[in-house]
Amino acid sequence: MTDLKDLSREAKRLAVVFEATGAEVVELDFLQISNVLLDLYGEDIRGRAFITNDPVYGEMMLRPDFTIPIVEQHMANSVSTARYTYCGKVFRRQEEFPDRPREFLQVGYEIFDGTNTEKADAEVFLLVNEALNGIPIRIATGDIGILMAAVRSLSTTETRKKALLRHIWRPQRFRTLLNQFSGLSSKPHPTQDVEDYNKIIDKFEIIGSRNVQEIKERLLKLKLESEIDPIDPEEVKILDDILSLKDTCTVALSYLEKVSKKMRGIEKTVDSFAKRLEFLEHNGINVDLLDFEGSYGRTSMEYYDGFVFGFYSEIYKDLAPVATGGRYDALTERMGQGKKIPAVGAVLRPDLTLLLRENNHD
């Protein structure tokens, strides 16, 4: 059993690393109105968060994380530059893994600043690395931004790209769509022409909010989709190669630079990757040894859309990540109702860092 005094000392120890930057220390209500989280995560969040009811506000959640409410607050107040840090408990329902804790401390750091995004990426990463000094750690990094840029630069319809981008965080559905769009598997067929539908529509009772017009629109869309060419296999191959890329940052970069000569649309994001590595290297990170995975951050890190990273125990392979972080520019736009600002952040688990520290001394 973890000594609570040790735990709070450990949390403090991590927190001072972030507070030393002069970041504003934020506190949040335990209870958050559900709407924002539901809009963002969809139903899946109900499996992960404790939900309760307020007679006035309706559905409320015990905060499952800090980032979303902080983004919400920041975007509501201003779009100026800011650095925040926090230390507090979050709450998670555990359905699949009943042994995992329902409440645990998080220490985190968020930068809202568009002046030099690569430098901000590096700043967050380096602070986390500093906070975890002395703990044997395996680090994984990736870049969802490169992936999204690759999808955007496919020579195909906007509709297809939009469908793929919508599922960038659901690898299986992404794969299904990609296979359909590239002709590798059959896709939903237009069941009938709109004219034929018009003839039979009287036979049906029209119920619910989705109306006949919407169905006709989709029938047309399916018809159009069935008539356009599959995505160029060459481009699919590049996308697949990026997705399965797994190497050191240095090797990954030189590979991606080569690819970006063929796929111009990813050039900007690859440049960013290079700049970020420079900042890291300049600050003592050996990027020749730092891992890079093209698919990293796709399954559990929804809303990240650029640099992503995770710090894992080298000893306990099944342990949840000790720290995770990444860039979430699009999220600020989504919550800013028109306003946006580049943002990047990270979160650490003092309970896990303490466990690893204690273990390291034994």
Partner: protein, 231 residues
Amino acid sequence: MIRLGIPSKGRLMGQTFDWFSERGINLVRSDSDREYAGHIQGIKNVQLIFLSASEIPRELSAGRLHFGVTGNDVIQEKLVLFNQLVKPISELGFGFADLIIAIPSFWVDVKTLDDLDAVSAQFRDKHGYRLRIATKYHRLLREFLMKAGVADYQIVDSQGATEGAVKNGLAEAIADITSTGDTLKANHLKILSDGLILKSQATLFKSLTSDFSQEENQVANSLLKKLRAKN
């Protein structure tokens, strides 16, 4: 005393009685039909507890019942990691029901989960809120759709008359159990071709959390032996 949970209402109760009596075990309800208790003819130390089929999972998992008859749909919906809490002893061959996803029949553009996902995106764009699916099987539906990678939907709770939810403006689609499909048809709904979440039937479960004394163990074993004799 072995505590055996029996569904307290309607056809499910009747068929449960029949199933046991076909195996030479006569369930007897207490003299007053209104009392939710009973025993087994000729076998001592077994107490019948009549409960709503939807409460039997909870009682089994809490160990307050040693055995219970209910559908595996409610077992899987209500019990997280159900196979660590209960063990199916025998499928009873009635109470068949499929948990399915159904949509309005006039949605001629929708046949599969692929379509449902695409329509969810379209619906959210158009209407500004997520496509609503009415169900009482929140967990099973959520897990099923998560695995299938369907996004941009929301679950609305419906504890009864779910087939009417679309017509009544509460939802755009439903997830519910069906046996013949007649009620769906009558409510202008059709089933997604790959929308089968679970096949269910009445099943006799053993609690893995309840304590069995030596004597209770003996009673349970002789009971199970009798039940198996027919199979």
